[in-house]
């Protein structure tokens, strides 16, 4: 049998709901003129957290649209995470679920929000153990060791390259490599082609460059292995310079 009586639970629920919606509750024994402080304090924490996480979207959307979006999110959504800094991820998921981009007529909104969240996620995500590496090896036939703290993402709009005001009409296939530098913790972004995205994806899966390029030569109908190899080695070398490719996996 629950120790908390239904009426006490109801009083707590009404106050919590008021903080979410701003609709005045019927509560027992409250100081009416002070009640609004709770709504204000709760709502301000939510707004500050979301605006800090999505500064580009916040600046891009007209104030009245942004305010309504945040208001609706707080009123309709039940935040699940106990960690407030992770809450903006739920804001993104809410916008996707409610198809806000279609309602507002900004077809790139989901990509923009995800890009902004991703930057925060890569910066803060839990440390991932680096693989054992060796510095000497064969670029084509050894498995390459990658910085494990990265995300490889496909976007429909080039949200990582253009200002939000320039995105309309730019739909296509865009690939972004985002990774965290080991020592500084800084987040780096690289726009890459679909071919290089494919190569990276296969490297992640543990294939050798020779295996990947043999497949890619046919898959992308290049039919010029030597040229493909030259470009791929340049790409890999660039990633090595950027310390994204760490060396050769020491198995």
């Amino acid at each position: 049998m629950p120790l908390l009586k239904e009426d006490t639970h109801a009083q707590q629920s009404k106050l919590a709901e008021y903080c979410k919606t701003g609709v005045k509750p019927d509560l027992i024994g409250v100081i009416q003129e002070n009640l609004h402080h709770y709504r204000r304090l709760v709502f301000n924490i939510g707004i500050d957290t979301i605006e800090t996480a999505y500064p580009i979207t916040y600046r891009f959307l007209p104030d009245e649209i942004w305010d309504k979006l945040v208001y609706d999110f707080y009123a309709e959504h039940k935040c699940k995470t106990p960690q407030v800094w992770r809450m903006p991820m739920e804001f993104y998921e809410y916008c996707v679920e409610k198809d806000i981009q279609a309602k507002l007529g900004y077809r790139f909104l989901n990509d923009l929000l995800y890009f902004e969240w991703l930057e925060m996620e890569v910066h803060t995500m839990d440390d991932i153990a680096y693989p054992p590496i060796k510095t000497e090896g064969d670029w084509l036939n050894n498995i390459l060791a990658l910085n494990p703290e990265h995300k490889l993402v496909k976007f429909t709009y080039p949200v990582h390259m253009l200002a939000a005001t320039e995105l309309e009409g730019k739909a296509g296939d865009y690939f972004l490599l985002m990774y965290r530098e080991k020592e500084s913790g800084r987040v780096q972004c690289m726009d890459i082609s679909i071919l290089y995205a494919y190569i990276l994806e296969q490297l992640q899966n543990g294939a050798t460059l020779q295996e990947i390029l043999t497949e890619a030569d046919t898959l992308f109908q290049i039919n010029n292995f030597e040229m493909l190899k030259e470009h791929a080695l340049n790409f890999v070398n660039d990633l090595k310079q950027r310390e994204f490719i760490l060396g050769f996996l020491n198995t």
Binding site: L3, H9, S13, A16, Q32, Y38, L41, P82, H123
Partner: protein, 281 residues
């Protein structure tokens, strides 16, 4: 709890000044306090900063989202993450607010007032015991500031005392919150303190606040501590055994010299009353 340099006053570890704190000796806290919610599962730059801080200072934890007064079930998965964090950083004190921040499966990320009622007392006692069983250490609960009571059937001091005595937990006495509540609800702060189970006080919080009208003070942690709160602190320390004391400053962060000034002032106060103590049990 062994404190740095046998002093008593710590400071809330904020990202805003973490670099300066770690790189200089302007601030000389005996320990640092952090909210585990803000650090659990975080890697990269901030994890490195946290690890550096843990090498330099003892750590206490002050939770935000356990929601001990919630009608909802306890989030045991989250509680186990806290336990792991506490062990990892050798945390000696874990405290939470006597309030609720989650209701009907929605987190609100702020502290709402619990109805001061008998059934709420029993409910919270049961939850505190559950938390202490999982963590295998005592929980310290903090008296929170509140701007309105809700459906109260007893006074605040009785509510707090019954929970502390019934659960066997410790009390985190927030002196600023007593001051804020005594102003907002027009009671005598010193009398209120004497009604609390002072033998259970394991930790003290001190902070600044903002008076926004003739009748309301908001507990902001964004201002310097005012003299009447220092006076109430001095009054309180005479009644207590030595415990760690925390300066909370979460917003509107001033130069570190100013924060150190507040730490020094509190250290001077406790050195008069707790002068013979070197370590805090």
């Amino acid at each position: 709890m062994q404190l740095k340099d046998n002093k008593h006053i710590g400071i809330g570890f904020r990202k805003d000044f973490s670099e300066e704190l770690l790189a200089s000796d302007i601030l000389k806290p005996a320990f640092i306090e952090l909210a585990p919610e803000n650090w659990i599962g975080m890697g990269g730059y901030w994890k490195k900063q946290l690890d550096k801080a843990a090498e330099k200072y003892p750590i206490t934890c002050h939770g935000l989202s356990l929601s001990i007064g919630s009608p909802d079930d306890l989030d045991l998965d989250f509680l186990h993450k806290i336990k792991k964090f506490i062990k990892q950083y050798n945390v000696q004190i874990y405290s939470e607010h006597l309030s609720y921040a989650k209701c009907d499966n929605a987190h609100l990320y702020d502290l709402l007032p619990i109805p001061f009622r008998k059934d709420a007392v029993k409910h919270i006692i049961s939850r505190i015991k559950q938390v202490q069983d999982v963590l295998e250490m005592p929980l310290a609960i903090e008296n929170v500031s509140y701007y309105t009571p809700v459906a109260a059937e007893m006074d605040e001091a009785t509510f707090i005392s019954e929970i502390v005595n019934g659960s066997g937990c410790n009390l985190l006495l927030d002196v600023n919150n007593v001051y804020v509540n005594s102003f907002n609800h027009k009671y005598n702060a010193k009398e209120f303190i004497t009604k609390l189970p002072l033998d259970k006080v394991a930790y003290i919080h001190m902070a600044g606040h903002e008076q926004i009208s003739d009748t309301v003070i908001i507990d902001t942690h964004g201002e310097a501590i005012i003299d009447p709160v220092f006076d109430l602190f001095e009054y309180t320390t005479v009644l207590l055994k030595p415990v760690p004391v925390l300066l909370e400053r979460d917003f509107n962060i001033p130069e570190l010299e100013e924060l150190q000034g507040e730490i020094t002032r509190m250290e001077t106060i406790v050195s008069k009353t707790w002068k013979k103590e070197h370590a805090i049990a």
